[in-house]
């Protein structure tokens, strides 16, 4: 029946002739600026014409013609994107060197200008010869400067990129008390450097691909050779190649294209702003994608529990982080279940509450005109609205939201008798719990799931909650992230990986890498480096004491 319906929808959509959309194929990379592939012409003026045609109405592309200061002057031209190049490089290293050559060189052989310029005159590290005009246009768009030489069939691409970027700052979405304060920026190169500084090994590979017909976004695939499962790397590359779209503006775009299962509220790819976290995951055998123009990196494959861990768990002592992880586990349960548990208990299982508490809840609920479910639903929805408004609001008016939230909705709703105080406590607890889950996308999926479970609780009580949770469990068990089972350290049970799970073992005891991910090179450190005091005998001690006295 569903198949028939699906076919029907498909044909109806297909019949819509107004939509000029080809369902079959998307023309990917239709050439830059609509020019066909052609070589660089030996005449400088002709090249200029072509480029001016290509960059018609693009005022940010600058053409600058000048002469090489040799005895018979050679006509030169640089073309660059204004604002995307380093002006000092252009002025000092290029124009200055080429133009102020008066009298220094007596004579040049006509065919040799290019080599002369490339090898002797331009003090720039990155220079490429290029004869393909399309690649030259791409280069200009990516911020490279092109030097055309009259009479030469090759142009020079000068790597003098330089544009305004945000400085490396503290990652706002993942702050830590203890730990590095650097966060990724919007510039790809800065980001790879931030990672490379943490893993100074040639085994850390960085591969570059480009996605997006118009945006031509550069994506760096990072992995450590020998630790990362090469099949996963291949799979990541394959999935990236499959993306045929106009633009990638954020890692979220990529995530939705390459995740294993799209019919799930749970994120199966971890995003982070922290280079130290990326390095930590690389060392455990994950693959990392860094995307130009966004400070968020993608880490894959991951399990559900990676969303409950923060970078700081590994910097604090193991007792502390174990305690914090236990707290977070409680937070997950509270944020998912507390409102529904309240509904179920108040509506169906009053006998579960101790009598004095029951009486006070009942007294508080006496004046409330709504059933518990409606009450909870209103409050939860209000809270979600407040949260969303708080995020989107300009900073200056942010205070207004907290006043409205705390006073008007909290205080007034209770004193007006619309909402019971117990409900306010429940909502507040849920809110705090959901904010203490370190990963935003992980927390938000739990927040969404809260609502269906509330409905189940309102209709079937605890049995409903349990049924909902079982459904959730079936779903979680069927999820995979790049082949790794989503709730992997517990199901399937991998006993070795429990060392870095809810309980975090001390550093010296985390002897192996997670078996599900970094199994290719399991050992990561020397066995059993238990810290212990140096072996001293009583005599030595006495001697030391004696020495001190002297």
């Amino acid at each position: 029946m569903f198949n028939v319906l699906r076919r029907k929808i498909k044909t109806t959509l297909g019949r819509n002739k107004d939509l000029q959309v080809s369902h079959q194929k998307f023309k990917h990379g239709e050439g830059s600026g609509g020019i066909e592939q052609r070589p660089v012409d030996s005449s400088l003026q002709k090249n200029k014409q072509v480029l001016q045609q290509v960059f018609n109405n693009c005022i940010d592309v600058k053409f600058r013609e000048f002469e090489l200061g040799t005895a018979p002057p050679v006509n030169l031209m640089i073309v660059y994107m204004d604002g995307m190049v380093s002006t000092t490089d252009i002025h000092v290293s290029t124009l200055n060197r080429l133009m102020l050559l008066n009298g220094l060189m007596e004579e040049i052989t006509p065919g040799d200008t290019l080599n002369l310029i490339k090898n002797k005159l331009l003090p720039l590290a990155e220079i490429k010869e290029e004869s393909d005009l399309i690649k030259i246009v791409d280069g200009i768009l990516a911020g490279e400067t092109v030097l055309f030489i009259d009479g030469e069939r090759n142009a020079l691409l000068l790597g003098a990129k330089g544009w305004e970027t945000r400085a490396v700052a503290e990652p706002e979405s993942e702050p830590v008390v203890r730990g590095p304060r650097e966060g990724f920026t919007e510039k790809l190169l800065t980001n790879t450097v931030l990672v490379r500084r943490r893993i100074k090994s040639s085994r850390l590979k960085v591969e570059l691909t480009q996605v997006g017909a118009l945006s031509k976004t550069e994506i760096a695939i990072m992995y450590i050779e020998g630790i990362t499962n090469s099949k996963v790397v291949e799979e990541v590359k394959k999935r990236l190649e499959r993306i045929k779209t106009d633009a990638i503006l954020e890692t979220g775009y990529i995530e939705e294209y390459i995740q294993d299962e799209w019919k799930t509220p749970f994120p199966t790819i971890l995003s982070t702003e922290r280079p130290d976290r990326v390095a930590g995951h690389l060392l455990e055998g994950h693959v990392v994608l860094l995307v130009d123009t966004t400070p968020f990196a993608l880490i894959m494959p991951v399990t559900f529990f990676h969303f409950l861990f923060a970078a700081e768990d590994y910097y604090a002592s193991y007792q502390v982080s174990t305690f914090i992880r236990l707290l977070r586990l409680a937070a997950v349960n509270i944020s998912l279940l507390l409102p529904s548990a309240y509904i179920a208990v108040v509506t169906f299982h009053q006998e579960m509450i101790p009598t004095p508490l029951l009486i006070s809840i009942a007294a508080a609920r006496e004046g409330v005109p709504f059933p518990a479910f409606v009450e909870a639903f209103i409050m939860e929805a209000t809270f979600e609205l407040l949260r969303e408004a708080g995020v989107r609001l300009p900073r200056q008016v942010g205070q207004a939201i907290s006043i409205v939230g705390a006073l008007v909705i909290g205080q007034a709703a209770v004193s007006a008798g619309l909402i019971s105080p117990a409900m306010v406590i429940v909502v507040a607890l849920t809110a705090i719990a959901s904010f203490s889950i370190p990963n935003y996308s992980g927390a938000i999926s739990l927040r969404i799931l809260r609502f269906p479970i509330m409905m189940l609780a309102a209709s079937l009580g605890l049995f409903g909650i349990m049924a909902g949770l079982m459904g959730l469990l079936i779903h979680l068990c069927s999820l995979r992230s790049f082949g790794v089972p989503y709730i992997s350290p517990i199901a399937p049970m991998v006993r070795g990986d429990l060392k870095d799970f809810i309980l975090r073992a001390p550093r010296w005891a985390m002897f192996t890498r997670p078996r599900m991910i970094g199994y290719k090179e399991p050992q990561r450190q020397e066995y059993m480096q238990i810290p212990r005091p140096p072996k001293t005998n009583a005599a030595n001690k006495n001697n030391d004491a004696g020495n001190d006295k002297k």
């Binding site: 579960m352 349990m466 069927s478």
Partner: protein
């Protein structure tokens, strides 16, 4: 040959599946039945039941090992000939569906009487089967993973109950020790054999193991673990309630109502029952999976997924109409269940095995 599934499970996953096949319902029903028949020697009668479990596992594993990687309904045609073999397949579809309907009803009835008396039975049965069906559609790997999660919850719940009612134990309830002698011990072990015999599903689940040779050991381990847990279960119920436990339908549930810690943690049985729902969902899912597999193998289907929904509907209806009321169900369990279950859990597999041995069908062994 054809087992219709790519999913494979490991030996330990298989063992926990076997535990879940028996435990969730057995732990609720067995104490009352066993105490009724054997009095104070009832907890010893688990020895008898466990021995029976070993026999069942031995038969299933021996038969399964003769045909590695093949399903029961598939090789039964080899052993018994085309027509009788297919009939054995159909017989098992029928029996497994019937038993699963009983299990669903059993738990629906339990929820109804102990939990939400005003709710129609069909709500519980349907929810349970919808969940099970979606698990079955996801395949054996997902069920096995779910099970690993749920088993820990069940054991947590059991330890929770038992440790909190420890103070209620009255040693006098345990005397006279071994009342009624060996005869009474065997009598007490008879009815629980029906539950333990459910381990015969080894036969159907074996082809889905990574290494079929692990099945036998995993089965024995599961059986031993079940014997210990259920023996302790009966012991605790007996120690707290004495012979009066025979009058309860669900004595473990009654045990949970006894819990009272510091005047605050009271009446936690609803919480415990909620955990129990998880166990039964997995149990029903495993049975359901076996039904689906036998059906698909018997009728040579290419894909097992289309039969899941129809089978679920049949089971929902059957689970409602199977008994008129809870008394009839208890009557069935105390009187009919043992002979009925022994037939399809013991005699039929044994017969197939004997025929296979006589006709020298399959296998490197024997």
């Amino acid at each position: 040959m054809k087992i219709l599934e790519e999913g494979k499970i490991s030996g330990s996953q298989f063992m926990w599946l076997l535990v879940t096949i028996v435990l969730p319902t057995a732990v609720l029903f067995i104490p009352a039945v066993s105490i009724k028949n054997a009095g104070t020697s009832s907890w010893v009668s688990e020895v008898v039941t466990t021995t029976w479990g070993f026999v069942i596992i031995w038969i299933s594993a021996t038969l399964g090992e003769r045909f590695p990687g093949r399903g029961l309904a598939d090789y039964s045609t080899d052993i018994l000939g085309k027509y009788v073999g297919k009939f054995a397949g159909v017989f098992y579809i029928f029996i497994l569906t019937y038993v699963n309907a009983i299990i669903v009803r059993e738990f629906g009835e339990f929820l109804l009487s102990a939990f939400m008396p005003a709710t129609p039975l069909i709500v519980f049965n349907m929810t349970l089967l919808v969940l099970a069906a979606s698990a079955v559609r996801n395949g054996i790997e997902v069920i096995a993973r779910m099970n690993q999660f749920v088993v820990s919850l069940m054991f947590f719940a059991l330890i929770f109950i038992f440790s909190l009612v420890f103070g209620e134990i009255n040693p006098k309830h345990l005397t006279p020790l071994f009342e009624g002698g060996i005869k009474s011990i065997i009598h007490g072990g008879l009815t629980p054999m029906g539950w333990r015999g459910e381990l015969f599903l080894t036969l159907i689940l074996m082809p889905y193991l990574n290494n079929y040779k692990e099945a036998r050991v995993a089965g024995y381990k599961a059986n031993l673990l079940l014997g210990l847990v259920l023996g302790f279960d009966i012991f605790m119920v007996l120690a707290v309630f004495g012979k009066a436990a025979a009058h309860y339908v669900f004595p473990v549930h009654a045990l949970a109502t006894y819990i009272s810690v510091a005047g605050f943690l009271e009446r936690v049985e609803a919480f415990i029952l909620a955990l129990w729902v998880a166990g039964v969902t997995v149990k029903v899912a495993i049975w359901f999976y076996c039904i689906t597999m036998v059906t698909a193998q018997t009728f040579n289907l290419k894909d097992y997924k289309p039969v899941v929904l129809p089978l679920a509907v049949i089971q929902v209806v059957w689970s409602i109409t199977i008994y008129d009321n809870i008394r009839e169900m208890v009557e069935f369990f105390t009187k009919t269940w043992i002979t009925f279950s022994a037939f399809f859990e013991f005699f039929v597999p044994l017969t197939i095995l004997l025929v296979a041995v006589v006709r020298k069908k399959g296998g490197q062994r024997g």
